[in-house]
């Protein structure tokens, strides 16, 4: 068993809305990512997946629960205590058009984290990181500005900047959603190679097909909770929670002859400021029973090994 890198336990993140209202963006999420493991956190907008990741990076404070990196509790770590952790745990953002400073050359973008962390041999490290990110030969890109690069190349630059510090884990927030289909596979393949070389990867995505292809494990979030988690192929082929079942059923297939029986849920995800009682999915659930409106089910084993779902009917 490889070393567990990130451990999130019973994480709650809440925001105040006005004077009395409290919005629980994340409401009791637990997950782990081990070295060499590729975990996908999947869900619709507003389900709390990005907040979960940002809290793990301590960009957002946790209201309760614990976050550990390796064996260190970082839940309440100060900025200076976080510094060595940030060398190990890096984040890649969604939009490589917005996340790179247009006035910086590629070499300066990739060197910036090294500067911040006061590391030597910058040239060498920059080149190594760029080659690792698939920007080869590095000389071809070092002097360029972001606007001279394609979207895929830009995202490789942000990955190179993350890799410059030789992290042990990457958080990738929708790393390909802004890119053209033709180059997405290259970026995802790169993340997959990094995983193979031992990095832990937590990818946030709304795209189940991408998660199915690249992740070892999938955690499905709904309204601040993980409602199902398990081995990627199990979650996709044998979904247990009615929400996951519906989600899987509406993903368009490239083969027009693959018959689809989409189970389209009506309405949209409720406001996290107004979470339904009992199972938070019950108002939209096609198989909800009377008990579902009062009982709030925890995750429990369902289907095969390591597969869990939060539904009283499984």
């Amino acid at each position: 068993m490889s070393e567990t890198l990130l451990t999130i336990e019973d994480l709650v993140v809440q925001y105040r809305q006005g004077r009395k209202k409290v919005v629980k963006a994340v409401d009791g999420v637990s997950l782990t990512v081990a070295a060499g493991e590729f975990v996908a956190l999947v869900g619709e907008s507003g389900c709390g997946k990005t907040t979960t990741a940002q809290t793990a990076m301590r960009m957002v404070p946790a209201t309760s629960g614990t976050i550990r990196y390796r064996d260190r509790d970082i839940t309440n770590a100060t900025q200076s205590e976080m510094r060595p952790i940030r060398r190990e745990l890096q984040i890649i953002f969604q939009d490589p058009y917005e996340s790179l400073d247009p006035r910086f050359r590629v070499k300066d973008i990739v060197a910036e984290p090294l500067e911040i962390h006061g590391l030597d041999n910058r040239d060498e490290r920059v080149r190594a990181a760029m080659e690792r990110a698939g920007l080869t030969p590095a000389d071809l890109y070092l002097e360029r500005y972001p606007h001279e690069l394609s979207g895929g190349q830009r995202q490789r630059v942000s990955i190179a900047a993350a890799l410059a510090l030789e992290p042990t884990m990457l958080l990738a927030d929708e790393p390909v959603s802004m890119l053209d289909v033709s180059v997405r596979a290259g970026i995802l393949g790169l993340l997959n190679d990094l995983r193979t070389s031992g990095l832990g990867i937590l990818m946030i995505t709304h795209d189940l097909s991408t998660a199915a292809h690249f992740a070892d494990r999938i955690c499905v979030m709904y309204l601040g909770r993980i409602v199902e988690e398990g081995p990627a192929h199990e979650v996709i082929r044998n979904p247990q929670h009615p929400y996951t079942k519906a989600l899987v059923s509406v993903v368009p297939q490239p083969d027009p002859e693959q018959s689809m029986q989409p189970e389209i849920l009506q309405g949209e995800t409720p406001n996290p400021a107004d979470v339904p009682t009992g199972c938070r999915f019950h108002p939209r659930c096609p198989v909800a029973t009377a008990a579902c409106s009062s009982e709030d089910p925890p995750l429990r084993p369902a289907g095969s090994d390591g597969h869990r779902a939060a539904c009283i009917l499984v």
Partner: protein, 318 residues
């Protein structure tokens, strides 16, 4: 007769310094009543420019040539004079990001009512009633017309944007990335709506998207565009199972499928710039099966079976 037929459509943009960008380089296709057709390709391939030309809504620095036949009448021939009577009345469009283009300080209803009154379809109470009817058509209770955009969810605003495009009962609807910013469940709802509208109203739909699975799911036919050309045209089944053009095959190959049955491989390189003349096939530098002939001239269009054609020198290999 096709409700819409596009013949050899070209669009050029004038750039500073006497340069020119040839965004659409001679595309042709027909669209039948009630048919749903996909127009797919990567960013910059000319798909949005092509449908803007069909609406006569190109920016002032663009010029178009070719024929756009609506029920047999060339609406491009006389410029705005021949385009204007048909715009919105016969051919309408849902712009990319339309759901975020509502004025935040006006009610949804008043914003749908405005074009109805401008077009002289109805006035006052009657226009209000028509607005309610249109909202009901897209699955929103007519009573909600007095709500403001922020009171609608993203999916509902997209429905309202579709309702607005349908105000004048067009025959052809052009939808530019109608589900791109939406979650997968809401996307499914909007797709279901588009299918229902085309089936019930006999509306012909062109859906512009970069997302092949979307097209496979709801369109009968699709045109794949690359560098301003239609590289392949056929039914979605033909495109997936018997692609004629390597680009189509490679694009499907780069698209992850849910059951992860196939490896996904990205296409190397990037599309060419269109402000320079390209000799030969524009896809050649990225193609996995290019031959010498590909560098010399643009490949002729070859028809493999009725309605299924591709522009490639290399024999199809699935």
């Amino acid at each position: 007769m096709s409700v819409l037929a596009v013949e050899d459509l070209h669009v050029w943009f004038e750039l500073p310094d006497d340069k020119e960008l040839h965004a659409v380089q001679g595309i042709s296709f027909g669209l039948e009543r009630g048919e749903r057709m996909g127009l797919v390709g990567e960013s910059g391939c000319g798909k949005t420019t092509a449908i803007l030309a069909m609406m006569g809504l190109l920016p002032p620095n663009a010029s178009a040539a070719g024929r756009i036949l609506l029920d047999g009448e060339d609406i491009l021939a006389g410029g705005d004079a021949t385009m204007r009577p048909h715009r919105w009345n016969d051919i309408a469009m849902v712009f990319q990001g339309a759901m975020n283009a509502f004025d935040p300080v006006k009610t949804i209803g008043s914003q749908i009512q405005e074009p109805i009154e401008t077009a002289g379809l109805a006035k006052g109470k009657a226009a209000r009633a028509r607005t309610a009817e249109l909202l009901e058509l897209v699955g929103i209770s007519g009573e909600r017309q007095d709500r403001f955009p922020h009171e609608f969810s993203g999916g509902m605003r997209q429905r309202a944007a579709i309702a607005m495009a349908l105000a004048c009962q067009p025959k052809v609807l052009l939808a530019d990335e109608p589900t791109t910013a939406l979650d997968v469940m809401v996307q499914a709802q909007i797709l279901e709506l588009l299918v229902r509208l085309t089936d019930e109203l006999g509306l012909a739909l062109i859906m512009v998207t970069h997302d092949l699975p979307l097209v496979s799911q709801i369109c009968q036919r699709a045109a794949v565009m690359y560098a301003g050309h239609i590289t392949e045209l056929g039914t979605t089944t033909e495109l997936y199972h018997r692609p004629l053009h390597p680009y189509t095959r490679m694009l499907f190959g780069a698209t992850p499928d849910l059951l992860a049955q196939r490896e996904v491989t990205s296409i190397p390189g990037a599309p060419p710039r269109l402000d320079q003349e390209i000799t030969g096939c524009p896809f050649r530098p990225r193609c996995d099966s290019a031959i010498d002939a590909c560098a010399l001239s643009y490949p002729p269009t070859r028809t493999a079976e009725p309605g299924h054609s591709g522009a490639c020198f290399v024999e199809a290999h699935a």
